[in-house]
């Protein structure tokens, strides 16, 4: 591994809050000291970024998430070199292309063809490179019939498509993307994603800012979560997205509990909603006459794992403890997507197991032989309760795992299925895409 593609050390960005006050004073100071901020008091400034450090290795797809106003766009502008950090150092190795504002340099009066040439040069291509890639750009934007019309006659979708096409064909080593994937219809978005996937395979570094958590989680190797100008968390996509969702949904209290690594305090007033309706908030409650002391997610070799691929087996193993013998007990499992949609729920009562006796330490395993789920993060409920539903120990959404798949199908469940074709339909059989093998180190191999 060579030098990191992006290295940010303690960067901060302070803006002036009032742009048109004290102009004279500040311009003078700008000329004398090179800074517009030095003689402004704190209430006249706004700190958009406050001491953020991170490192993006070369070839990594790096996601940045956070609420509006958390400093994502400022960060991107700093990375693109449009503004300079007020404090700290920022190093980017390799040519950058920033998909921040698509078609920003287009001139409305001249044709798409000429705009492509100039925009390409603006983004750092030579004239020859523009000529070589011209056809590719136009075909990508699907604007062949309109390329000689003035850009002012384009619809906003056409405008964006052309802008995206030029920017993506600059062939940067580092690609910055700011929420621009929503530019086209479904088909064009898919094409953009394919192109970005191609970038990843070729070992380019991508930094992606998005509110589309599913997308970020699916595409990124690592995620940075920004909160009020500071780094809230960074690391594994599943974990960070979960933490972010937890924060957004449940506020900071639950988050802190999770950060400290133990389950939240009991919340008896939060009645369980067995059918999965109502707001999905993680938590733990119950009388603890039966305690679920630990929950493990295991693969077919009995190793603890958090990432699985379709086709593997997943075992949820509960270790239970009860001080006194109990004869009325039910074990239940609930499976949810990251946004709280119920995927599946069952319990031993529904499946007609008759409880006899439970005492001391016990072992319960729920085995899924073949996880037929699409890619994504899933949350797990486990519970021990009476047959009438009174909880002994209810763990809601405290455990999560991630399914990674080569196949980018959508939805929740992947029913076992096959295609057949007949008559005048002739298709070429797909090249088989073997699923990832996660056995060696528990992490997906790099694509």
């Amino acid at each position: 591994m060579t030098a990191p593609a992006i290295l940010a050390v303690d960067i901060a960005k302070v803006y002036r809050r009032f742009l048109h006050k004290n102009q004279f004073k500040t311009l003078k100071s700008a000329l004398l000291t090179g800074s517009l901020l030095s003689d402004l008091s704190p209430d006249q400034t706004f700190t958009a970024l406050d001491g953020v450090s991170f490192e993006v290795p070369t070839g990594c797809t790096f996601g940045v998430i956070g609420e509006n106003g958390s400093g994502k766009s400022t960060l991107l502008k700093l990375l693109a070199g449009i503004t300079k950090p007020t404090r700290g150092s920022l190093t980017v190795n390799g040519r950058i292309s920033a998909l921040i504002e698509l078609g920003a340099g287009f001139h409305p009066e001249i044709s798409g063809r000429e705009n492509v040439a100039i925009n390409g040069i603006m983004l750092g291509l030579t004239r020859k490179q523009v000529d070589d890639r011209f056809d590719e750009i136009v075909d990508f934007a699907e604007l062949r019939p309109f390329i000689d019309a003035p850009v002012k006659t384009y619809s906003s979708g056409m405008y964006m498509r052309l802008g995206f096409a030029v920017a993506i064909h600059v062939d940067p080593e580092v690609l910055l993307i700011d929420e621009v994937l929503a530019v086209g219809d479904e088909a064009f978005t898919r094409k953009c994603l394919d192109k970005i996937g191609e970038f990843r395979r070729r070992g380019k570094t991508i930094l992606l800012v998005s509110h589309s958590l599913g997308l970020v989680e699916k595409m990124c190797d690592e995620i940075l979560w920004m909160r009020r100008g500071k780094k809230a968390d960074q690391g594994d996509p599943k974990r960070v997205v979960d933490a972010y969702l937890t924060y957004v949904a449940g506020g900071e209290e639950a988050l802190l509990a999770r950060e400290h690594g133990h389950a939240p305090a009991e919340q008896p007033e939060a009645a369980p909603s067995p059918d999965g309706h109502g707001p999905y908030r993680e938590g733990r409650w119950g009388s603890r006459e039966i305690e679920i002391a630990s929950v493990q997610l295991l693969d077919d070799r009995g190793q603890e794992r958090h990432v699985f691929v379709p086709g593997e087996s997943l075992t949820v193993r509960l270790r239970t403890r009860a001080e006194k013998p109990i004869a009325d007990f039910v074990f239940g499992i609930g499976l949810f997507t990251a946004d709280g949609v119920s995927v599946y729920g069952t319990n031993t009562h529904l499946e007609d197991f008759v409880p006899r006796r439970l005492e001391g330490d016990g072992d319960v395993a729920f085995v899924i032989d073949d996880i037929q789920l699409v890619e994504g993060t899933y949350l797990l409920d486990v519970a021990a309760h009476r047959r009438d539903g009174t909880p002994y120990d209810y763990h809601r959404g405290l455990y999560s795992f991630r399914v990674k798949s080569r196949l980018k199908d959508v939805g929740v469940h992947r029913p076992a299925h096959r295609w057949t074709f007949g008559g005048g339909v002739d298709v070429e059989a797909p090249v088989p895409r073997p699923e990832l093998d996660l056995h060696d180190d528990g992490t997906p191999d790099a694509q």
Binding site: R16, L31, G34, E101, I110, E114, I118, M122, T126, R127
Partner: protein, 259 residues
């Protein structure tokens, strides 16, 4: 300053294509298109000819007076249009500066160069009339000198005004009047040679006056002896360019935020 020159050289391809774009875009949609670059100075010249041959017959110090005027007006138009355009060019191009990694100094330079091309396209018209009236002299070969001085001077001022206008929008309004005053403070509608007294001192300190006198002597009089004046103007142009580069560099980081 040298850094600025290096930057501009590095972006020459970008500057070149942007100038081309401006020229294309300006006449897009008009019937005569690019010919306007020739027709505009031609019409201007005809108007002056009309006024001074038929209306102000006695106001002439040299013959043919309208041709003498035109030797000053053509470079002045280049200068004043460049400055007036570059003042607003950063604000107009705000999208580029704010959203794309774009060397901001390219924009005022493109304004100056676009108008320079118009100036160059006007020269053949001027030469045609000079030849017609028997005023085409060998001294016209020295023309690249004042052109170079004016180019450096104009770019320097364009850098200053473009960067300052971002911070003081008022400049855009004042600038029109400054340029108007400058017009009358330069030997365009009158002959530098016949001015004396206090006003002559004012003209001496106007670098553009020396450049204009150089044009007039080279093109109209056919004998150039204003070397010291042109030399001082050249020094002044370099100074202004250095100041413009310094100022622009200092304000660069604030541009993306203030635009």
């Amino acid at each position: 300053m040298f850094q600025q020159v290096a930057t501009l050289f590095r972006y020459r391809l970008l500057i070149q294509s942007l100038v081309g774009r401006e020229l294309k875009a300006r006449y897009r949609g008009s019937i005569l298109g690019f010919f306007w670059s020739f027709i505009n100075p031609l019409l201007l010249l005809l108007i002056y000819a009309l006024v001074f041959e038929f209306v102000f017959k006695d106001a002439k110090a040299k013959e043919p007076w309208f041709l003498f005027l035109f030797c000053g007006i053509l470079p002045w138009t280049w200068f004043s249009s460049s400055i007036a355009e570059s003042a607003g060019v950063l604000i107009a191009g705000g999208n580029l500066i704010k959203k794309v990694l774009f060397p901001a100094e390219v924009l005022p330079v493109v304004s100056v160069l676009t108008n320079f091309v118009h100036f160059l396209l006007g020269l053949p018209i001027l030469f045609l009339f000079l030849a017609f009236k028997g005023h085409l002299h060998a001294s016209a070969l020295l023309l690249p000198l004042p052109i170079l001085v004016q180019l450096v001077f104009t770019i320097g001022l364009a850098l200053i005004f473009s960067a300052l206008t971002v911070h003081f929008r008022d400049l855009q309004d004042i600038l029109g009047h400054i340029l108007h005053l400058w017009f009358w403070g330069s030997p365009i509608l009158y002959d530098y040679g016949i001015i004396d007294g206090a006003f002559r001192m004012v003209l001496r300190f106007n670098p553009l006056a020396h450049v204009l006198v150089s044009y007039q002597q080279m093109l109209f009089d056919g004998a150039f002896d204003h070397w010291s004046g042109l030399f001082c103007a050249a020094l002044c142009a370099i100074l202004i360019f250095a100041l413009g580069s310094f100022l622009f560099e200092r304000l660069r980081d604030t541009l993306a935020e203030e635009v």
